[in-house]
Every structure is written in C-alpha cells, then in structure tokens.
C-alpha cells in the first residue's frame, strides 16, 4: 500500500516568510511524528500526535514552530518567520499506535528539504 507521503519535496523560502509542510500518514495509523534533520546530524524529534492531540511537543524549538493534525489524517507543520537555522530536512513518520509493540514501527516519509535564504 501507499507509504507516508510529504509535500512539497523541496521548498526554498526567504528569511522571514512563513512555510507550511504537509504529511499524509499511512491510512489507519493513529500516531504521527515530526522530526528534523540538519545537515550532517541525526534526526531530532519535534512533535508527536496520537489522533489529533499532541501529548508530546517537547521538541518544538521555538514558538515559531507549530503543528496540527486533522483527526487521524493529514498533519501540517508551520514555521513562521523562517530563519536560516531552520534549513533542514523535515521528516514525518507514522505508526499504528503509540507504544512499544513491534507492530508500532515508525514508517518514515521521504522528507521535505527546506532551504531558507
């Protein structure tokens, strides 16, 4: 079946502009995660959704970052007043649920490469 999809695949924006990144999880997956990967670094967690609530948003780096999710479907990550340090690949993942069962493997999307000039 279809995997996690993200759009756009690439986004170039000017410093100070707002951007919206979209994630379509695998159908039926109740848990959704956003991660960020800066050049040469590992993935850093941003936010976790279970359904449309976000019990863990501890990784959002500042109040310029926000995310929402509609039911158990699409999620958007919004970055306001973008800065050059926001340049990164933003990855979305989804899983059947939020837990430790093997079936709760996180499946990753292809990512959105954001470049702030």
């Amino acid at each position: 079946g279809a995997g996690v999809s993200q759009s756009p695949s690439n986004k170039v924006t000017e410093k100070g502009k707002d951007v919206e990144l979209r994630c379509d999880p695998i159908s039926g997956h109740t848990a959704l995660y956003w991660y960020r990967q800066r050049l040469g670094q590992g993935l850093e967690f941003l936010i976790y959704f279970q359904g449309n609530s976000a019990p863990d948003k501890s990784g959002l780096p500042s109040d310029r970052f926000s995310a929402e999710r509609t039911g158990e479907s699409v999620s958007t990550l919004t970055i306001q007043r973008t800065q050059q340090e926001d340049s990164a690949v933003y990855l979305c993942a989804s899983s059947l649920g939020g837990g430790r069962l093997p079936s709760y493997e996180q499946y990753f999307g292809p990512g959105t490469r954001l470049t702030v000039t």
Binding site: Y33, Y35, G40, G42, L43, F45, D56, R100, Y107
Partner: protein, 109 residues
C-alpha cells in the same frame, strides 16, 4: 538526558570483510534500541530492533546493558550494504525516538 552516540561518521570496509557499526547510549532505565538504514535515494527504514532478536540482511545487534551499547554487526559485508545507518533509542514512557548522528558505511569492491 537520553543520548545516542555513534562515534564513527564514516566507515569503509572491503566486500567480504566483517563490519561493526558502533552505538552507545545513555539511559539508566530499560531502553528499546533500533537500527535504521537509509539507502541512496530511499527513505529511512527500520533494519532491526533489539526486542525482536532477529537477523535482517545478515545483520545482528545485541543489547549490552553493562556497556550501554547496541553495536550492529555483519560477518561478511556486501556492496549493497553501503548506506547511512542510524542507531535510535526509545525510553520508557516515551513514543519519540532519540537518534544518533549516523554512520555512513561504504563497502568497497
């Protein structure tokens, strides 16, 4: 704070040689450890998880709680193993994964 360390950013071995990618973690509780792999132009995917105690594509990894390590090993490397490998940890009560910085493995012919 929980942390995952992969000390080698780059690792290069010859085809047929053994390979070991190192991963150390800092967490005092009962962790869940994973290895993820990203092949060229593909998305990140799960390779194996310690609780499954499985061998995938010839790779194995054993959780050593005494040394807080979860090294990934394969006795005979193949060219198709060339990829970026990430070690990740999930600690008790959390859903998120904590990733290491990754190791780029290159298998030379």
């Amino acid at each position: 704070a929980q942390r995952v360390t992969q000390p080698e950013k780059l690792l290069s071995v010859f085809k047929g040689a053994p390979v070991e990618l190192k991963c150390n973690y800092s967490y005092s509780g009962s962790p869940e450890l994973f290895w993820y792999v990203q092949y060229s132009r593909q998305r990140l995917q799960l390779l194996l998880r310690h609780i499954s105690r499985e061998s995938i594509k010839g790779f194995t990894a054993d959780l050593n709680k005494g040394e807080t390590s979860f090294h990934l090993k394969k006795p005979f490397a193949q060219e198709e193993d060339s990829a970026m490998y990430y070690c990740a940890l999930r600690y008790q009560g959390a859903q998120k994964l904590v990733f290491g910085q990754g190791t780029r493995l290159t298998i030379n012919p």
